[in-house]
Amino acid sequence: MKHPADLDAIIVGAGHNGLVAACYLARAGLKVLVLERQPYIGGAAVSRRLYQDFTYSNCSYVCSLLRPEIIRTLELPKYGLQVIPYEGGCTMMQGGGHLALYDNHDALRREIARHSKRDAEAYDRYSRDVMRQCKFIKPLLMREPPDPTSFKPRDLMELLYLGKRFHGLGEARMYDTLRFWTMSAADFLDEYFESEIVKAHFAGSSIIGTALGPRSPGTAYVLLHHYMGDIDDTVGAWGFARGGMGAISKALGASFEASGGTIRSAAPVAQILVRRGRASGVALQDGEEIHAPLVISNLDVRRTFLETMDAKDLPDEFLGQVKNFKIRGSSGKLNIALDGLPRFPAIPAGSPCTRGDMHVTDTIEMMERAYDDWKDGRWSRAPYIDMLIPSQIDPTMAPDGKHYMSVFIQYCPYELADGPWNAAKRQAFGDTVINTIAQHSPNFKDLILHAEIRTPWDIENEVGLTEGNIFQGELTMDQLLFNRPIPGYAQYRAPVRGVYMCGSSTHPGGGVMGAPGANAARAVLRDLGRAH
């Protein structure tokens, strides 16, 4: 295969962050090649047809956090990205009944009042407080975290910026912020709400993808994910990507190619080459070598440094820290083709509730117990599930009259206490999930035409995420900001000159957000003296 002569940069992995970084670099005039192991691009943001004419969003399933500035700068709508907002959502209760969710604040407030008048009032306070934290954090997403141990002017300026922003909150809000970032979701919600179902609903987002339970300190801040989209006033910041999550990757790929970039799929990289202490290119698994002075890895740090680089090229202490980086598989995924729309008796007919994410975990205790199972090395017997039927909104996902259901499952361990994953265990895991749903939908099982069951082990094997962790590393305090991924290496630069990291292992972390890719590209361009 031919490559553009004198490449400037190679990007290892065509996940959304790799593609975002590639787009920015190509737009800055660099000659960029993206190498992808799979025959298709997207990493964990893919749409695939595995059964008849059904399209599955195999891994990630909701477009919630993609930064609007990225969408705009890279002109993604022009390249086919269309995001359709959710119309509702709900949490069904064990004994019947439900809490409906609406995008509209007042409508949701009225719905909460149905369960508790006090909670409806608290909801005003809650959304105001969480929104305030959102506004505080938002500008930090697209910045390079400073090194607090450094005396370089850039780091000092950045620390000063953070200090000023924090100070700008005013004394009372500063304390609120300190608490918000360190509390558990359960404790935080207890400060507002009394109704179990209301607390359970909000707590859901705090555990997705993490190896923590809702009672673990440090889970409260994840609650703001629900609000992240709202503050941009961008309709669809929280919604379905038309055509599935692969549509995002497709648009990114198209935008990249329009800027002159090249993508090569089915080209697995075996090693990042280092010559005289700096990056010199990559070697593919088939032995082919491709040279470029810059190599930017979209793989998680464990994969990048432990599997794709030679240990002798890296400092020992750094390698030790990489080994200690926590990437834990805790989530599973089911993609189900349905012969029709399942009935959920808890939800009134015609309610928009089914046109968003649906849950069946109605107490925080249930979530915490689901987490306890994970700690013991087994999948949750009563898992927390986040279930969507995108085909109701986006008819391209399934044939007429039929439906595609995406089910995200928390918790499912990467390593089982009773030995490695196998086909029988995978099926048993899938059955647990299907039975959980069937408890709330009498005709659900009869409608199933096909189900793709994905354990953390499967996700690791297919997508390349270590342990199948969707965030490329736990989002705990010891792995956030200047600690992410490794203290002293939080600025996208690896210890080898010319090697960069641009995956979710870096600040600000996972979710189909694109910020790590954009930040990494900025770091590369700054080092080239091309910063804007």
């Binding site: 607090p148 141990t149 360190t182 509390m183 117990r369 306890d372 705990t476 010891d478």
Partner: protein, 529 residues
């Protein structure tokens, strides 16, 4: 004991509510600063949760805390406690980990013990040295009034800057490591460093003793550092046992306070903090007696102080809500056994029996014990810190007989089945657990008592029965402890101060909160915003 009782006075500069160790340290410091001070203790004797009392005929025990290792040596010297009668039954006590069916593991003196692999041995030495460096760097943070954030005052800014510099002075490598592990859980920290489950279990237990956390809970490196910082401030004497139990410490503190001119009255529960013109002006006793004071300093926990003694009507609604939300439900129970014989721990040397024994075979074991507590159940296989105080101080029991005192976790304050029926059952579980390590123990028992957090709440008047008067966690630490607006020992009501474990830095028999509070009072009785 005898306490100098000065003639009753109608008005004092300062009234200290509660004669626990923090109240007494505060009173002594204030008296030494020239204030007229009255200490009011509800119980029949001073000591709060650091007291010695009989629990079975002829058997006495430190009913709350049973080891002294956190009080700064400087404070002991400053108050001349040894000349006020404090004697030591033991100092520098060893720590030994017990795993039933396995040889014991010594954790003291960096020796590591014979059971550790060479890798663990080396890692343990490096780990201890590093953690001690971190602890030493953080000592000044404990001994100062926490700064307020967002003020324009230079004092607060300087305090923050000083802390930053202190940490910076660790050097780049250590600083990075401290900033990384600071927010971590102790499970991950220990897994990164060690192989031996017994070693990890024992080291992990220290991080969760007294806390509503399991080793996997983020924030447990903070609780571990808390202990290490206090131990670092306490100086090199290590784990100590006052002769006569912890009550002897408080008696000496009371003597010191008395000698400095403070008056101490016991058996006088305070009913109310009186407020006049938005300022605390004295207290009303349950007996109906009213006493005036320029300042009232409460060593009671914040909920008791603000909600019961002061009353929400003197506070704004937001502040009351914060106080209501302080997490202060205890999970540590205290087991006291009267034994007709030394406890028959197998394979435990006499020297180890004179020290502290830990029963937490692995981190997973602790985590599983904690799981129960999350759902309002007691642990089916509890973890423990055990001492046999009579080994060092035979006078606590009749001749030849012994006392076993253990902190047993986890016993949630709000047990679902209720402690009425749960107490006996949990005591049986705890004794069975001990029996596994000390076969024949049950047959030696001639008296037993289990204090659940609910009992601790009642006996020591600590709302929730939490020995820190409020969970030690990032959201209840430093300038947000116990709540913003009361974190500098001052409160929203002029003339009212806090000086108990609910304040910075927190609980344990440390006395720093009491001393810092006294300094805040002496610095000027100004209203907090």
């Amino acid at each position: 004991m005898s306490v100098t009782v000065h003639e009753a006075q109608a008005r004092y500069d300062c009234i200290v509510i509660g004669g626990g160790h923090n109240g007494l340290v505060c009173a002594a410091t204030l008296a030494r600063g020239g204030r007229s001070v009255l200490v009011l203790e509800a119980g029949a004797q001073v000591g709060g949760a650091a007291l010695t009392r009989e629990f079975a005929a002829g058997f006495r025990v430190s009913a709350g805390a049973h080891l002294l290792h956190l009080m700064p040596a400087e404070l002991l010297r400053e108050l001349k406690l040894e000349s006020h009668g404090l004697e030591w039954a033991a100092r520098g006590m060893p720590t030994t980990a017990l795993v039933p069916g396995q040889p014991t593991l010594s954790l003291s003196g960096g020796a590591g013990g014979e059971r550790l692999s060479p890798a663990d041995e080396a890692a343990y030495a490096a780990y201890q040295a590093r953690m001690q460096r971190f602890a030493a760097a953080l000592v000044p943070v404990f001994s100062r009034v926490p700064p307020r954030l967002g003020t324009t005052g230079w004092a607060d800014r300087l305090a923050l800057l000083r802390t930053a510099l202190q940490i910076r002075r660790l050097g780049r490598r250590d600083m990075r490591e401290l900033l990384r592990i600071g927010g971590m859980n102790v499970y991950d920290l220990l897994e990164e460093n060690f192989e031996s489950p017994a070693l990890k279990g024992a080291l992990g237990l220290d991080a969760v003793l007294g806390a509503n956390f399991g080793p996997r809970s983020p924030g447990t490196v903070l609780t571990l550092l808390y202990r290490l910082v206090a131990e670092s401030a306490a100086g090199p004497s290590g784990l100590s046992q006052p002769r006569g139990g912890m009550g002897a410490l408080c008696n000496a503190l009371a003597m010191a306070a008395g000698a400095a001119g403070a008056t101490i009255r016991t058996g006088v529960p305070v009913a109310q903090i009186r407020v006049d013109n938005d300022r605390a002006c004295g207290v009303l006793l349950e007996s109906g007696e009213s006493i005036d004071a320029g300042s009232v300093i409460s060593s009671a926990d914040p909920k008791t102080t603000f909600l019961r003694l002061l009353g929400p009507r003197h506070l704004d609604a937001g502040f009351v809500r914060r106080v209501n939300h302080i997490r202060s439900r205890g999970l540590a129970a205290k087991l006291h056994l009267a034994l007709n014989h030394a406890p028959p721990f197998s394979a435990v040397s006499e020297a180890s029996l004179r020290g502290r024994l830990l029963m937490a075979p692995s981190l997973r074991h602790i985590e599983n014990a904690y799981n129960h507590a999350k759902y309002g159940e007691y642990s089916a296989a509890p973890v423990m810190e055990i001492t046999v105080p009579t080994m060092n101080d035979p006078a606590l029991a009749p001749r030849g007989q012994h006392v076993l005192s253990a902190i047993v976790q986890y016993a949630p304050y709000a047990l679902k089945e209720g402690w009425q029926s749960g107490r006996q059952r949990f005591m049986d579980v705890a004794i069975d657990t001990l029996e596994a390590a000390a076969p024949g123990l049950r047959a030696c028992i001639i008296g037993a008592e289990l204090l659940t957090p609910a009992d601790i709440e009642q006996e020591f008047r600590i709302s929730g029965g939490h020995w820190h008067h409020g969970e030690l966690a990032f959201d209840q630490f430093l300038m947000v402890r116990p709540v913003p607006g009361a974190a500098q020992y001052r409160t929203p009501v002029g003339g009212l101060f806090l000086c108990g474990a609910g304040c910075h830095p927190g609980g344990g028999v440390m006395g720093i909160a009491g001393r810092n509070a006294a300094q805040a009072v002496l610095a000027g009785d100004v209203k907090s915003p």
